[in-house]
Subunit: 189 residues, 2 copies
C-alpha cells in the first residue's frame, strides 16, 4: 500500500485525509506464479498497482500465435479501458510470471476516490501518459535494433527475469524464435 501512495505522490500532492481515503479503499492481493490477472474476454472489475513481481501481457495474433507484448514490473498502475469507467473487456491476457503482490481498487471505490479527491483524475492521467510513453519507447528499441541488442536491453530492464521465466516468453517479446535466443545467450556467455 505504502508503495502506491509513494508512487502517486510523485505526480501530485495529497493531504493526510485524502491518503487515508485511498488507503481505506484499497485491498492487497497476491497472485501465484502463472495465475491470471486479466483474461481476454472477461470483464475487468478492478484497478491494480503492482508492488512486487512481474506480469506478462500477451495476445494472440491473426495467425493464432501467442505474442508477448510486454512485461510489467513493480510500480505500474494497471488501468483498464480509456478512463476506467463502465465495463471493459480486454483482448489481452495478463499473467503473473512470478509471484506478485498488488494493491487493487474495485471500480466503485475507485470512482469514489475520483469523485472525492479533486485533481485525482489529473494525477491518474499523468501516470497513464508516462506509462504509455515508456511502453512506446521500449517497443521502438525492439524494432530498430538487432536481436542481441534487444536482448541486452531486456536484461538491463529486467535483470532478475532472465533466468526465472521461460525462454519462450522472452523470445516472443523480442520477436525472435526461442532457438535464436538460445544461440544469442550462448554467444554472450
Amino acid at each position: 500500500m505504502e508503495k502506491f501512495i509513494e508512487y502517486v505522490l510523485q505526480f501530485g500532492n495529497l493531504n493526510k485525509q485524502q491518503i487515508d481515503l485511498i488507503k481505506s479503499k484499497s485491498t492487497e492481493i497476491e497472485l501465484r506464479k502463472d495465475e491470471f490477472y486479466w483474461e481476454a474476454g472477461k470483464i475487468v472489475r478492478q484497478i491494480g498497482f503492482i508492488t512486487d513481481g512481474v506480469i506478462r501481457v500477451y495476445y494472440y495474433d491473426s495467425k493464432g500465435e501467442e505474442n508477448t507484448r510486454y512485461f510489467i514490473d513493480e510500480n505500474l498502475l494497471i488501468l483498464d479501458g480509456p478512463n476506467s469507467q463502465g465495463n471493459y473487456t480486454p483482448s489481452e491476457y495478463l499473467q503473473a510470471i512470478t509471484g506478485c503482490k498488488l494493491t487493487v481498487f474495485y471500480k466503485k471505490d475507485w470512482k469514489e476516490i475520483s469523485d472525492t479527491i479533486i485533481g485525482w483524475e489529473n494525477i491518474v492521467q499523468k501516470i497513464n501518459n508516462k506509462q504509455h510513453t515508456e511502453k512506446i519507447e521500449r517497443r521502438s528499441i525492439l524494432v530498430s535494433q538487432d536481436a542481441a541488442t534487444r536482448y541486452n536491453e531486456f536484461i538491463d530492464k529486467f535483470p532478475t527475469l532472465a533466468n526465472r521465466v521461460p525462454l519462450s516468453y522472452i523470445a516472443s517479446y523480442l520477436g525472435i524464435t526461442q532457438s535464436s535466443l538460445s544461440r544469442i545467450r550462448k554467444n554472450i556467455r
Copy 2:
C-alpha cells in the same frame, strides 16, 4: 475545423455554445512538405489536430541513427507533455512528409477551453488513450512479424504513402534497411 469537431463529438457531447467556443479559439495552419511541426529541444506552444497530410515522427538513437517511430495521419490530435500544461520540450522531431493542414490551439486558448467546458479534459483523455493504444498495437506488429508482413501492414494502413515518401523513411519505420525493403517490393510486384 469541422473535421476536428466531428472527431471530438465521437468521444463526448458538446452543445452549440461549446462548439462555438472551440471554433473561435482554433487556427488553421498549413505545413509545406518537409517542414517541421516539432523539433527536438524546442518548446511546444500549441496543440494540433491533423486534418490533411502525413507527419513523420523520428528520433536519434544512442548510435546517432535516425529512427522513424511512426507516421501520423489524418484525425490525430498532437498533444504535448502529459497534460498539455506548462512548457514541454520534446525529444522527437515531427516533420510533414506531405503538405499538411492542421487545426491548432495555442496553449492559453486550450486552457480556456479546458476551464470552460466541463468534461473537456475527459474527452481529451479518451482521445489520448485511444491514440496511445493504437500506437502500441501497431508497434507490436512490427516486432512479431517478418519484414514483408510488416510492409504489407504499412501499405494497408497508409495506402497513399507507399509511393509518395522516401523509401528510407518507410524502411526505418519497419526496422529494416532500404535495400531490403526495395527487394521486398520487388517480390510483391
